[in-house]
């Protein structure tokens, strides 16, 4: 692989490029990719099992970074660092997964400012300025571009080994990613010429692998109907995710998800900051003390996930721990204590489980059939975050609560706050906070043509629909009492619609319109 072709498309609004002309009779098996904060891996169903691809240095786990040197950037797939120190010169960009889709007010971005490359923030809610040091000059780039360069290398490596074009992919993503961040991942894939079939929350990929293992070992083809409950704890360098899954007969039903952007990076930074100088052994107690908040967050996520899943601790069959941080004894102790289990599930490799699950999903979604039933699998996903609208002042009103099984479709009624209010702003957010500021803005649109009426009379229905591939559509309709025919054409919007600067467009709307276009939830009139 001497010649390297970088075919990253420009970072513009052209995500809809199409259409690969693969032969219609043979479905292309989508590859599974686990993009880790520090390491990536790629795997594919080879006809009988999942095969993890290796790079030229025979590595299954490939360091996630891109170095900018002279004209040609090179990613960690093909490039070998002469020395680990090269990561620290400012020429290498890494931690893309922590930066992608985040604005410069985000604490995670601020925590990245002491990395060797340039992360500059203006704290106004726009994307941070990111640059690599090339020949003593800062060369600007974006997390999407860096990720795309890396993905192109992964793709070339896979194509060389599989001896076929690779277009379709299933990627694993952190549970806490907003839909806006997911669009950034899709953008990076599009720039790398990859078509995303699914973006799977990481623990759900592990749940699928577990479902396959259970099906193979128990030979339970819905016969006994006995369901196995598993808690999946996944903590890597950048993110910590938890899932509760109910598995039977190859069906993995995700009962709840919880996630947070904490990981090994935080533990490393805490440890270096508080237990400096380096090379000095930190005592276990010190280590636990400086990372107390991280460990508390791990515990909180598991507790919340169990509560959301309405699962009693005594009913848990297996506790699965994966990701680099799952090796930390303190983390293992915490999870065992919360789940009241003495043993951790031993059936999966903690560093390979996610990519294996992604490859399984890739084969299943590509419509591949396995004569032995190994692909007789199904994941019923749940929404990791609630989606809703701004109403009742500055409140976030969920329309689809978190941990709703998808596909899902739910609606709520709202009404006007002013007499003769002709228009209303529908501002869509995603998250868990009670006020809108605590949540991610996904987009906004205006309903016009509300007939003149006293406040509280018009009925504005907001319906949200999430399909099996996680696409979110929002519908809005205006009704008047006594009629069920919308008085103006229904509005349908695919979300998210926000692009850059999403941090401040909500504020701009607020400054411009105040409460004149507000909504409140419709109260029952007796």
């Amino acid at each position: 692989m001497a010649e390297q072709e970088y075919t990253v498309a420009s970072d513009s609004e052209n995500t809809a490029e199409e259409k690969s002309s693969s032969s219609p009779s043979l479905p292309e098996i989508a590859v599974g990719i686990d993009i880790g904060t520090s390491q990536c891996s790629i795997a594919v169903w080879n006809g009988s099992q999942v095969h993890i691809l290796r790079n030229t240095r025979n590595q299954k786990l490939i360091k996630s970074f891109v170095t900018f040197k002279d004209e040609v950037p090179a990613g960690g797939v093909s490039n070998q660092l002469a020395h680990e120190q090269e990561m620290l010169t400012g020429a290498a960009i890494f931690n893309m997964k922590r930066l992608i889709g985040r604005v410069d007010t985000d604490p995670v971005v601020h925590a990245s400012k002491n990395l060797p490359f340039l992360v500059q923030t203006l704290d106004i809610g726009v994307r941070p300025f990111i640059a690599a040091l090339v020949n003593n000059a800062w060369r600007s780039t974006t997390p999407e571009e860096v990720l795309a360069i890396f993905l192109v290398e992964l793709r070339l490596m896979a194509e060389a080994q599989l001896k076929r074009p690779v277009r379709n992919v299933v990627l694993t993503v952190p549970v806490s990613f907003s839909r806006f961040q997911l669009t950034r991942i899709e953008r990076a894939c599009a720039m790398a010429g990859l078509h995303v079939l699914r973006l799977m929350p990481e623990p759900t990929a592990i749940a699928l692998l577990y479902a396959q293992q259970q099906q193979m070992t128990t030979h339970d083809n819905m016969g006994s109907g006995s369901e196995r409950l598993a808690v999946i704890f996944n903590m890597g360098a950048g993110y910590c995710d938890v899932a509760v899954t109910a598995t039977a007969g190859g069906v993995s039903q995700i009962k709840a998800l919880a996630g947070s952007p904490i990981g090994g990076e935080d533990i490393l930074q805490n440890t270096m900051r508080h237990i400096a100088p380096p090379n000095e052994e930190a005592s276990g107690l010190e280590f636990e003390e400086v990372n107390r908040k991280v460990f508390e967050e791990c515990e909180r996520l598991v507790v919340q996930c169990l509560r959301d899943a309405r699962v009693e601790v005594g009913d848990i069959d297996d506790v699965i721990m994966v990701g680099g941080c799952s090796y930390i004894p303190k983390v293992r102790t915490i999870i065992k204590n919360v789940c009241k289990k003495d043993e951790i599930y031993k059936g999966v490799n903690p560093l390979e489980a996610a990519v294996r699950g992604a490859a399984l999903e890739g084969a299943v979604t590509s419509g591949i059939h396995d004569p032995f039933g190994s692909l007789d699998l199904l994941t019923i996903q749940a929404t990791p975050l609630a989606v809703g609208v701004r109403a009742n002042g500055n409140k976030f009103i969920p329309v689809i609560p978190r941990n709703t099984m998808v596909p899902a479709r739910k609606d709520l009624f709202f009404t006007t706050v002013q007499d003769n209010q002709k228009e209303a702003l529908i501002i869509i957010y995603e998250g868990e906070g009670e006020t809108v500021e605590e949540n991610h803005l996904l987009g906004y649109f205006k309903i016009v043509g509300i007939p003149p009426a006293p406040k509280g009379v018009p009925e504005i229905n907001v319906c949200m629909d999430i399909d099996a591939s996680n696409a979110l559509r929002v519908f809005a309709a205006v009704l008047m009492p006594g009629s069920s025919t919308p008085v103006v054409p229904v509005i349908e919007v695919r979300m998210p619609t926000v692009d850059d600067g999403h941090g401040w467009c909500a504020q701009a709307l607020n400054v411009k319109y105040g409460a004149t276009l507000d909504l409140i939830t419709l109260q029952r009139k007796m």
Binding site: A391, D411, C463, R473, A477, L479, S484, T485, V490
Partner: protein
Amino acid sequence: MKCYKSSSILTTNHHPFFYKQQPISSLPPSSFPSTLSYPTRTRFSSTRIQSRLTHDDPVKQSQDLSFYDLLGVTESVTLPEIKQAYKQLARKYHPDVSPPDRVEEYTDRFIRVQEAYETLSDPRRRVLYDRDLSMGFSFSFSGRRRNRYDEEVVEEKSEWKAKWQTQLSGLRRRSNQKDNNSMSWAARMRRQQQDSC
């Protein structure tokens, strides 16, 4: 691929609300048919799918079924049996595994099966549902009704109460209005369409 040309996948002259004829002024607002009428769309279908839903289609008829009927179980069903029935139906109706030409209608069915499962697999909600069933409510499927069980269960959990209060009032209003009108939206739509044909 982001095929966001929903109109090209939907049946022609398939309005999102299925309102084809005259306005239905006699219906109360609670009959707003959002849960049943917004179109489902397959995002990654390589071929453009045109699924026409007919009145005698078994999937569409599911709107008149009770939660027990939807899961294909009797009212004496045990919890493990409910879970098993749900997973079996998921394997049939989940859009990931349904036949490509029936994804839209199967998705509708799957969402209903899911709501039946959510109610019947929660002992508290199931008690409420059974109570209504025994009181002879007409038990056509309705998203409103499910919301009502949600609401009553949620109210028991004080930690959620404040957060959901605003939403609950809306739900309560709708579920109460629903009680005044026992026929489901779908049933009314079918009657109306039959009348007008």
